[in-house]
Symmetry: C2
Subunit: 362 residues, 2 copies
């Protein structure tokens, strides 16, 4: 589906699925010369079945009722680093929460690990989350029990936005005991999902969800993972995406650290013992000369009106000059220049030739 949308656009792809007939050129390209060509007809039948059950208007109504928003590639809030997923890039993301997803993820680290974490694992995860937040880094995790929940809680204690990427609809609280945590994430951060409201989590959804966690962040830290932990799936995505991968060591007597030690032994992950080690690792990916922000990344709503207007007028890819931005934002040029300086210092925008654009992760 990702390839179909890339080739014909969303409406063109939808039309072909509705008609039950794919462009023969597309089928040819998908299958010719491949040793194991995909069964395109079977995919088409599955898409048609899903289309019959879909009710996008009802989804959007329900999203609006929940205060959620739907973003697609090209939207200002769309995190362009998801493009690294290629044809596996999500088609759209449902968001629920006060923080801006794109800005929150500019300086972000995924902190993942076992649901059945040990007290050591939850302690280290909470410390990691709090330390990253205090240094102005957003923590991305999966909202699960154990390491995930501790990382979100640590981040919230550090007053930074935190991002929970779910394997179910943004209105489903799974696990149910994380109800208060999810409410706090919505307040200071954002809850993200590929699924429309009401969709329940399934095991395959967790696995495909993990690619989004890895792709949104500059790097992934595995705090605790047994040898068959799902967190190692996120780690694999991080490596495939050429993001940084780190793992926290623990007692060699603990099965919950065995996955971390294997990553370190195979030199797939860097050994990290504190948030300082993590920042040293992921901080090097971007523009090292960029000044460190003095405080946490600000959620969009805490920017003043003029700054937000300027930010929303900065293009995502090609740069725009201050005059163009001033016209788009409806403010004068000296104001644009001062606001751009502040936004650059906070890591939101960067120079592009003679103009400015939204800052890319890499």
């Amino acid at each position: 589906m990702g390839r179909l949308v890339a080739a014909y656009g969303p409406e063109g792809a939808l039309g072909q699925v509705r008609q039950g007939r794919l462009d023969p050129c597309f089928v040819e390209e998908m299958t010719s010369g491949k040793s194991r060509p995909p069964d395109v007809e079977r995919h088409l039948r599955a898409w048609r079945a899903r289309l019959q059950g879909a009710d996008p208007v009802a989804d959007l109504d329900e999203g609006a009722r929940l205060g959620a928003r739907l973003i697609v590639p090209g939207d200002l809030e769309w995190p362009t680093q998801l493009d690294d997923l290629g044809p596996e890039r999500p088609l759209a993301l449902w968001l629920r929460g006060d923080a801006d997803l794109r800005f929150s993820c500019l300086r972000s680290v995924a902190v993942v690990g076992s649901r059945a974490a040990t007290p050591y694992g939850t302690h280290v995860s909470a410390e990691m989350g709090a330390g990253l937040a205090e240094a102005g880094w957003t923590v991305i995790s999966g909202g699960a029990y154990g390491v995930d929940a501790a990382a979100h809680r640590g981040s919230l204690a550090g007053s930074a936005p935190t991002v929970a990427v779910l394997a179910c609809g943004i209105d489903i609280v799974y696990p149910a005991a994380n109800h208060a945590l999810f409410a706090a994430v919505r307040g200071k951060g954002v809850i993200v999902s590929e699924c429309p409201p009401g969709v329940r989590p399934t095991r395959p959804r967790f696995l495909i969800r993990n690619r989004v966690i890895a792709a949104l962040s500059r790097g992934t830290v595995v705090v605790e993972a047994a040898l068959r932990s799902g967190a190692l799936n996120t780690a694999t995505h991080a490596v495939a995406l050429r993001r940084h991968l780190a793992a926290v060591p623990g007692p060699v007597t603990s099965e919950n650290s065995a996955g971390c030690h294997r990553l370190i032994r195979r030199a797939e992950a860097v050994c990290v013992t504190s948030c300082r080690d993590v920042i040293e690792l992921v901080g090097a990916i971007g523009d090292d000369l960029a000044p460190e922000p003095r405080g946490p990344v600000l959620p969009r709503d805490s920017l003043d009106d003029e700054t937000r207007a300027v930010l929303e007028s900065v293009p995502a890819r090609s740069g725009a000059g201050p005059a163009t931005i001033a016209v788009a934002a409806g403010v004068d040029i000296p104001t644009v220049l001062s606001r751009l300086g502040a936004l650059a210092a906070a890591g939101y925008v960067e120079r592009a030739g003679r103009g400015w654009r939204l800052r890319h992760i890499h």
Copy 2:
């Protein structure tokens, strides 16, 4: 002193120190063209002072009374891997115990760490020692409290020889509480020291002792070490000698694992979580095609008389043919061939051209 002995032999070096006058050529070579030449005259005065206080005959008598032996380079029991220390190679070693030092160290690993080990550290060290012993590997350590003692005890539980390299005379029990441990080491392994009997440990002696631990073994494992632990000094020697270096991870909340984590983070040490990981590492150094011995390395006394006679007739460096060995050992050629096969399988001897020699570590 190592350079003086290397240039003039032990007797030549002794003669120059006695006369209080070093060969001008030697002084020239030691000092010319060096940005910081050693103060050779000061060294000579120190050697003369030590010579005045030395009583080698009394030392040898005391050693004999203790059942100890003194070995020098060229002796059959001298571990030739100590040559890697160059001019810092010990001039002689005092040994006390039933195992043969050279044979014991052919397949050996140094296990070192904090004296003030945590219960985690002593547990892991004992398991490591026992696992290595069961796989036929000799554990070398320093006989100290904590990690050292646990490694020796684990090795003894696994019925392999273990080697304790002391920073004091082989008759001094330091720390005193390790009295029973040292007796057990003497029974199944060997106690080693550069110091003559009666010498007390001092801080510098611990540091120079560490080079011997690193040089005797194929690799060093640091089980627990704080950032300023003496075990990291042994690790530095292992790296300088191009031996393998491994470190055991632990909780990032434990200061006693911080030194291990730093070694792993800097990629100076390989992360190991079990004796299997260690054997995978150090086993690769030697001849990978050599069959693994089925049991622990045998102490010399447990070899039958003919096998021992053959072993003692195999030269250390240049190879000798079976006929030559048969003559030296006083047995017939078929016996030599069968014994050489068994000794090769156990890792004692190896082929050298058309003949056989004692197996070198690398």
